[in-house]
Structure formats: structure tokens, C-alpha cells
Symmetry: C3
Subunit: 267 residues, 3 copies
């Protein structure tokens, strides 16, 4: 799969796909920059009056539930229906699912009304959405699901989406195959919004790669590999974040071919 | 008091308290990161539909009036009532009080309807809220109150809160004692949101330290000491901000014990 | 004109004008910091209830259409009318004009109901607003207007505003004269919000310089020169952004006098 994701990265750089984000207020600057550094183009837009028009011009749509409001859920449904109508992949990041009814319900509502290409969350968020355990504190997973491999596979089947649980090892499934991504670095846990950034990376890959399992793996391996390369320059979490964004920009297809650490957990 | 605040910092690292922020759009990323670097967990949530539930799971609640809207004031009252009901400390940052009726009135409304543990502002903001002088330009104090020691003490008595005025010397009172904190660095005045970050640091301490005078002093001394350590690495305000966040992460209880410069201004 | 803009920069540092921003959620932190580093004071405020009061105390008003909502358009009209009443210059940044009806219509509505001092956009945004061509993808210009010199001049006459199209060469006109600014660096295209930051720099100059052609040139030359100086320290887009903000802070009137590369394109 290393060759496939490296080719997808090259396509991002050539096609510069537009990624429409309806996302949270905390990470908006970082995810817009990550989109740009990866080679794609970001647009952040959440007004119900314009989201359909913006999605129509985009190649992928990110729906991120952090700092959610009911008005945003409505905008997400409008944008999501347009995306489904046009075959534009939707990537869902259920930030804080399990932390409030609003977020859990919104996640479930989006999953039931829209065809979601990829769902990425931490272990507790996916567990809360799937009703299979896990416990969050705020937006952090404090107790994950007991068997992430089984959970991603089951939830992928239930939701008809590729599902990714990120953590020390990222676990991704399309309902049949289960892939592990071993890239990443412990500094990622010290910075807010790195999960949201991983979701954005996945969306950029989904914009150019129709096999969404490959897209999810490509986004996670790229982001994780950039983190590994950034760690050498980090003196703390803030210098790490700056180095991480720089490394996303410098990441090459060659580095991804050799550096992605992908394992097949279930054929 | 140095030993007490150093112990509190250790408790933050061990307990990882969740800090619920209803805060402004300018500083949201920086204050979420500061929370995390200090050892606590952030959650930013402002929808009226979820704030009570989020506060319920938190160990401190930050109410910050920058980029305020009437909907946010309503959410603050809902979250604040829940916090009071459960004994969760509220830290109020009246950003821009005195700059508009909306902000001044909101500050007074929160102070009259809620039991606020700690209020932190610059000299003019506290002066405007207290009706005792001071003049702001935007969110900057251009003319402080004439006698900050008397003002923090009086306002602490009036509001039944610990009150902190930050500036070259930070001055903190519980209505009886007045403490000065001499940590900090002039670079702090060149970066937006450093006042908001100081408030977040105070909230993390208030989450683990029931003596709110000690908590306010602990947050201010920690933040100021990190700023001093960051100054050596600064080539300008942006490198200073990056270094400041790194130093907050690296700050140890030992450094705080020896480095906190706390003076008793009134017994 | 180099002397004039250098003198204006000195006045910014002395007067510290307050710049009221009603702006987008992506760049709010960066533009607040840029304002501060340049020597002015920022305030971000968008609630309809307070914008008139905030504008009244300000020396310039920025209206930026990124992440627009109908409520924000209303607030912009209230603030804009107050600014016009008091002779406070308005700087309009039509982010994403052409990308949605909401943004294009809002730009035209603001231009027709308010007296706008300066409009700054990329080539496609100005083209879309002026109905003279250009094509955007999201907030990026993918196809500019064919003759920017003619377009800025025509649109300046039509709108009664100074108009600036930024790009490899920035082109500015008051409807008669056309000036080119050749400062800047290609790193600027790798970071989100650099256009918005340029607009903020222009607003700081407009707050102290009544000749708005000079103000627009001053803001663009200062920002572009800081970018040139930052490029030497950049290892990627994120280190570039940090260095850029540092360099804005360090920029002197002397450097601006010798470093601004201003050409008269039409007398």
C-alpha cells in the first residue's frame, strides 16, 4: 500500500483539491495551514446560506464536531447532502462524542442521514458513537475500547464507512480488511488539535483517492511520518507544532514510500 | 506560599483536571494548548445546549468576555449556575470591560448572578467593572486605577471573589490579604492573549487548590516564570510565544519553588 | 513615496491607533498579533450590540468576509455606518468573493451602502466583485484578471475607493495614479491568511495616513519587506510565519525608507 499512498500524495500536489471544512474554532488556523502545506487548498465556511455552494466546488468535505452548535449541525446536513448528491467524499471527526448529548446525537444524526466516506476519532469517541464503551474527559480519550481492531471492523460494517481509530497505533478498516499504521510520535499528544489535523490530512487524500481505506491510511501515515521527522527539532510542544507543519510541507512521495509503516492486521 | 503553589502544580500534573472554557475566538487555540502544556485537559464548548453537561464533568470553568455575544452570555449563565451548584470554581476574565456596554454589563451580570471564585483582569478592566476608574483602548489598559492594592482588596470584598490585577507587578487579594507576584517579562505585552492565558493558568490551579488566593498566585507565578525562561530564546514576539508555550510544558515544581517571586503586600 | 510611508510607520508606533476588526475565524489570532507587532492596538468584536461603540473608539475598521454569516454582514453595516459618520477609514477584504453568492453579494452590499476607503483582495476576488473576470478556488485565486493595472484603476473609479490587488507584484490605484509594490516573498503563498494580514497592515497605516493610496502602499510594502527579511530564517511555512511576525515587530522606518520597492505604473 506504500506505493499507492505515495502516488496519492503526488496527485494532491498536482491537482490541489479544494477541501471544504465545517470545523471547530480551536483548530481552524492549524487545519487550514495543514491543508495548504500538504498541497491542497482549504476553505472554511459554515453559514447555512453558502455551504452547499462551497461544497459543490470542493473535492472533499470535513465535518468536525468540536465547538459544535445546533446551527452548525444544520449547515453540516445541507453541505453533506450536496456532497452525497455529487459523490464528494465526507470525512467525519466526532470530536468530543461521548462528552455531551449534543455531540453524540449530532454524530449519530450525520451518520444516519448522510453517506460518510471515512470516520476518524480517538478510541473513546468511536466507542461512544458506536455504543461499545470508552470514556472521554473533554476531548481526550481516558479509556479506550477494549478491542480496537474488532471495533473499527464492526463500526465500518454498521456505518458503511471506513473507520479509523487513532492512537499509539492507528487502526483502520473498511469493514473487511483492517490495517495498522505505526507512524507518529508521542509529542502529538501534547498539542491540541492533532486529531483534527489528522482528519484534514485524510480528507486531502480522499479527495484524490477513491479507495477510502487507502486514503485514510495515506493521510495517517503522512501525518505520522511528518511528526516523526519534526520530533528531532522539538524543544517542547510549541516548537514541535511549528516543525510538524514545516515537515508536512516538505514531505515527499519518496519519503512516504520508504517511511510509511503499514501493517495488515486482518486481510 | 512557594511550597503551596509548587505542590498545586504537581497535583495538576497528577490529576489532569478538565478545564471548561467559554472563551473568545482570538485566543482559543493558545489557551487550549496552554491548558494541555500545564498538565490539565481543555475543552472549549459554548453552545447553550451542552454547556451544563460539559461543566458538570469539569474541575474549573473559565468565562472570558472577549468577542462576546448575547448568546454567549446566556451560555455562561447556564454553565455558571451548574458550576455553582456543584462547587466547581469559576474564573472570570472580563476582557474589554469598559470598552463596550455589552462587555461591562455582562461582567456585572455574571458577578451578580454567580459566585465567582477568581476575577483576573488588567488594571483598567477591573477599574471599569468596579466603577473605580481606569481607561481602556480596545482590550489594552491605557490608564490603570491609581491604587491597585486598595482596588483589589475592595473589589474582592465587594464581589466576594479573589481579585487579581495583572501588570508589571501582579496584585492579588481575597479581601483581606494582598499578595504581589513579581514574575513576568516585558515580551508578554507584545503578544495578544497573554492575559487570557494567565487566566487559564489560574483556572488550572483553582481546579486542584481550594484556597483561591493561592490558586491565583500559583497560576500567575507559573505563567510569569515560564515567560522569564522563554525570554532568553525570543527573537521577537512570535518566537517568544512559541518559547513561552514550550516553557509552560517544561516548568517543574522545583523551579516554581525557587523561582516564584511572591511578596506579601498586606497581611 | 518611501519617505511618506516611513513617516506613517513612525506615527503608528507613536499614536498606537486602535484597529477594530470584524473578521474571519481562521486568521483572528494572527491579525490581532500583526496589529500589535506593527505598533497599533487590535480589538476583535462582531456582536451587533457592541460594534458601533467599539468602532467609535477606533481609528480604522477592517471588514473581512472570510467565514461570513448573515449576522456578521449586519454587524458590518452597523459598524460601517458609524465609521462613515465619524470619518474613520474602512478597509474591506472580500475574502472568497466569487466563491459564493453570500460573499459576493455581501461585498457589493458593503460597497454600495458604505464609503470604503480601501479594498484589498487577490486578483480573482477583485475581478469577481467588479464583474470583470477572474476565477477562485475557495479563497485562492486560480485565474486572475487579465489586466490588473486597468482593473484597479477602473474599480477605484467605480467604487470611489483605493483598490489594491495583491500578488507577485501588488498593484494599487486611487482611480488616477497606479502604483506597484514589488516587496514580498513566495513563502507568503504557503501560509493561510497572509492576504488578511496584509489588509490589517493597510488598516494600521490608514489609521494615521489620510492619503489612502499612500496608506495602502505603506501597509503592503511594510508587510512585504518583513516577509523578505523573514525568508532567511524560514525552514518551511510555519517557521516562516513565526519569523514574519517577528520581523513585522522589528521593522524600522529606516529599513522601510530604503527597502520599499515602489514603482509608479501610471502617473
Amino acid at each position: 500500500m506504500n506505493r499507492q499512498i505515495a502516488d496519492a500524495l503526488s496527485r494532491i500536489r498536482i491537482r490541489k483539491p479544494l477541501i471544504h471544512h465545517i470545523t471547530n474554532l480551536v483548530v481552524m488556523n492549524d487545519t487550514a495551514n495543514l491543508t495548504l502545506h500538504l498541497g491542497a487548498l482549504p476553505i472554511m465556511a459554515h453559514a447555512a446560506d453558502e455551504v452547499a455552494e462551497i461544497t459543490q466546488a470542493a473535492s472533499a468535505l470535513v465535518l468536525n464536531l468540536g465547538t459544535l452548535t445546533p446551527a452548525q449541525v444544520e449547515a453540516m446536513l445541507i453541505a453533506g447532502r450536496k456532497a452525497n448528491e455529487l459523490g464528494i467524499p465526507i470525512v467525519l471527526d466526532p470530536v468530543g462524542a461521548g462528552a455531551s448529548q449534543l455531540r453524540t446525537q449530532a454524530g449519530l444524526e450525520l451518520l444516519s442521514h448522510l453517506r460518510i466516506a471515512i470516520v476518524r476519532g480517538n478510541s473513546a469517541e468511536i466507542g461512544a458513537l458506536g455504543g461499545v464503551g470508552g470514556r472521554v474527559r473533554g476531548v481526550e480519550s481516558v479509556e479506550g475500547v477494549s478491542d480496537p481492531i474488532a471495533v473499527v471492523q464492526t463500526m465500518a460494517q454498521t456505518w458503511g464507512s471506513v473507520v479509523a481509530i487513532t492512537g499509539k497505533q492507528d487502526v483502520v478498516s473498511d469493514g473487511r480488511r483492517v490495517i495498522g499504521v505505526n507512524n507518529g510520535h508521542s509529542w502529538l499528544t501534547t498539542v491540541t488539535g492533532t486529531g483534527c489535523m489528522a482528519t484534514t490530512a485524510i480528507a486531502a487524500f480522499a479527495a484524490v483517492e477513491p479507495d477510502y481505506l487507502v486514503a485514510a491510511v495515506g493521510g495517517l501515515a503522512s501525518f505520522g511520518l511528518a511528526a516523526e521527522r519534526a520530533a528531532a527539532e522539538a524543544h517542547g510542544p510549541a516548537t514541535f507544532k511549528v516543525a510538524l507543519l514545516d515537515q508536512v510541507y516538505h514531505l515527499t512521495s519518496e519519503q512516504l514510500t520508504t517511511g510509511a509503516r503499514i501493517v495488515v492486521l486482518q486481510e
